[in-house]
Amino acid sequence: MIKAAALLEVRSFTKRYGDAEVLAGVDFDLRPGEILGIIGPNGAGKTTLMECLTGLLPADAGEVWVHGELLPPARRREAMFYLPDGIAPWSDQLVWRVTGLFRELHGFDSAREAVVVGRLELSPVLDKRVAELSKGYRRRLLLALALLTPQPILILDEPFDGFDLRQTLHVMDLLREVAIDRALILSIHQLKDAERICDRLLLLDGGRRLGFGTMGELASQAGAARADLEEVFLGLT
């Protein structure tokens, strides 16, 4: 079944926990080289959407099309890599072992690993165990792991959490470079950050899509053409 489509098309994603509907028929698409932000208040369904999208959680309904091909959950890891928030994987392993694992698994050379380690300034902590890292360094390590994967779509949950402003801007620059080759979906809690980096935004609340489009399109939808994202957010939620 072939469809002419964007890089990724998500249709009617629905997820229930018992009687509670946490995703209610969410649709969106992603274009090549695009950075798409998922925003919404706590409990909006952002993380659930990303986990269903990548097949880590079973969705009750919905389709995922990649390059016009319908992908079942078991095959979605071929097209997308999801980096969850708040994890500390392999905490008793050394940092260089963990980055080395991803490099080897995905068939990259040491030069690629060195570039990623260098760009994320992980060199000072390579000999430390993951459990010994500060929150900022752990976040950088997780980003490094995401950058050492080959999938064309990268899905990051709260990628700027744990960074100060300077670090956030640095990581944004890096992600923009990444978006030259790969499309990104970012779940972002801080609206200012989302406004800075995202090409389009998906606004969720209570599992429902309240808005989807560029900043300008969302502002029009909110009826305030010159509003910033915070005002749009308050207007639509």
Partner: protein, 453 residues
């Protein structure tokens, strides 16, 4: 996926899993506990064996009872068995539980390999940890040989195989517990409930006469290991341990596959439980046994065995004895256990007789009687000695067995002192373990700067 790529990924993941186990405190704590535990058991076993050997070296009749399998190997590996039952589950649980607890499982689920490959790799890594844990016991075997002790390779290799199968089954239990539990601590409780449950089952079967409990206890992992400890290679028990381990590892996989709904996980687990029951039933019918003991304790003389194997018309043995009676235990160990492996259609049942009284009398004249029925003929005996029972059976079958001369087991008494080797187990081996841990703790890493293009 092409085969070379598959093996490359499996090798990378295996190295990763082994590194994870080597980084875990549980493994090193188990090794440190094992060294003195095994050492103490070994030194004590050699000391007791030496005491018994003092008189045995002068009397050949006594010497025949001196078997290194019973006197040295089983007690030494008994300490290892204890550690595998109580400590090894913690090491094996970590292979899955740690990933779940730290969130790594969500990344692992996106690795370019399937769940089955991941489980095979994790099982191999845990197998490597088991090999490490077996080193103190194997070093004890080597020391026994150095002391001049006798070793019969089929006996101790069979014993090691039994322990390996037991370890595999414990790995399955630990993996399944880790897969269904939310935390490592809960998984440990679930795994210990399983392993200690086998002890309770054995204890209950020894004290309660319910036939279903007796049958169930035969499927306990400790009962399976006991066969190997007796110098018997029992295919049914080997298949049983392998089935329990393999099915539980698969069941762990059911719970680890990402994106699967809870009802589907439960349904697949029930299907695997049914499969396990079928496998256990099939394993019981395997009927392949090899007596690998040097003293041939698990077999009758070859000529008797050949004659018994031809008794295919259904032999029924009725015992008017209480299972608590020492005569029952004697006849079970000396005759019935061997007959079950050699006579094609054997039925053993307990006859209705009053229980044995305080002084061995039940008040029922039939008490103590054993009735043998075959092809419409019937014989009775009160003996538990195979030298009296076998002629009865051959008579019922109408066969004449000419005894063949077989070399008798000489026994291997040894007056030796292993106390000096206590230093190896209490100090040398723990120091080596600590040294190995230190070496594994901070491995040298490659220099990225040099590798930059």
């Amino acid at each position: 996926m092409a085969l070379p790529k598959y093996f490359r990924l499996a090798r990378i993941l295996l190295a990763h899993e082994i590194r994870g186990l080597l980084a875990s405190k549980a493994l090193w704590a188990m090794l440190l506990a094992l060294a003195p535990l095994v050492g103490y058991s070994f030194v004590q076993a050699v000391s007791l064996f030496a005491e018994a050997s003092k008189s045995a070296v002068e009397f050949p009749e006594l010497a025949r009872g001196m078997t290194p399998l019973d006197g040295i190997l089983v007690p030494t590996l008994g300490a290892f068995y204890l550690a595998v039952t109580l400590l090894f589950p913690f090491v094996a649980i970590r292979a899955i539980g740690q990933d779940k607890q730290t969130g790594a499982a969500k990344l692992v689920a996106q690795f370019p390999v399937g769940t089955v490959t991941l489980l095979v790799v994790k099982t191999l890594a845990v197998g490597a940890a088991w090999c490490l844990a077996a080193l103190p016991a194997l070093s004890a075997v080597a020391i026994w040989a150095l002391l001049g002790g006798h070793l019969y390779a089929p006996e101790w290799l069979n014993l090691v195989l039994g322990h390996a199968l037991y370890g595999f089954a414990i790995t399955g239990i630990a993996f399944f517990a880790a897969a269904i539990a939310d935390s490592v601590a809960t998984a440990a409780i679930v795994a210990l409930a399983f392993t200690l449950g086998f002890w309770v089952l054995d204890f209950a079967a020894g004290n309660v006469q319910a036939s279903w409990l007796q049958a169930l206890s035969q499927m306990s992992l400790t009962a399976a290991l006991r066969q190997f400890e007796h110098g018997l290679f029992s295919l049914p028990h080997a298949l049983e341990a392998a089935s329990i381990g393999g099915t539980l590892i698969l069941a762990a996989g059911v719970w680890l596959v990402a994106g699967r709904t809870l009802p589907r996980k439960i349904g697949l687990t029930i299907a695997l439980a049914i499969l396990l029951a079928a496998l256990l039933a099939a394993a019981g019918q395997a009927g392949v046994y090899h007596d690998v003991s040097e003293d041939r304790r698990n077999s009758f003389a070859p000529a008797d065995s050949v004659a018994l194997a031809r008794m295919d018309k259904g032999l029924t043995i009725t015992l008017y004895l209480s299972p608590d009676d020492s005569r029952f235990k004697d006849i079970e160990a000396n005759v019935l256990g061997k007959l079950r492996r050699q006579v094609p259609r054997l039925t053993v049942r307990l006859g209705e007789a009053g229980r044995v009284g305080l002084y061995g009398s039940s008040g029922d004249d039939r008490y103590g009687l054993v009735v043998y029925e075959y092809a419409g003929k019937r014989e009775e005996s009160r003996s538990s000695d195979p030298r009296e029972i076998l002629p009865i059976l051959h008579g019922l079958a109408g066969t004449t067995v000419v005894p063949t001369e077989t070399p008798s087991y000489p026994g291997y008494p040894l007056v030796a002192d292993a106390s000096v080797w206590g230093g190896w187990f209490y100090l040398g081996l723990p120091l080596l373990i600590l040294l190995f841990w230190w070496r594994c703790h901070r491995p040298a890493r490659p220099n990225f700067e040099k590798e930059k293009p």
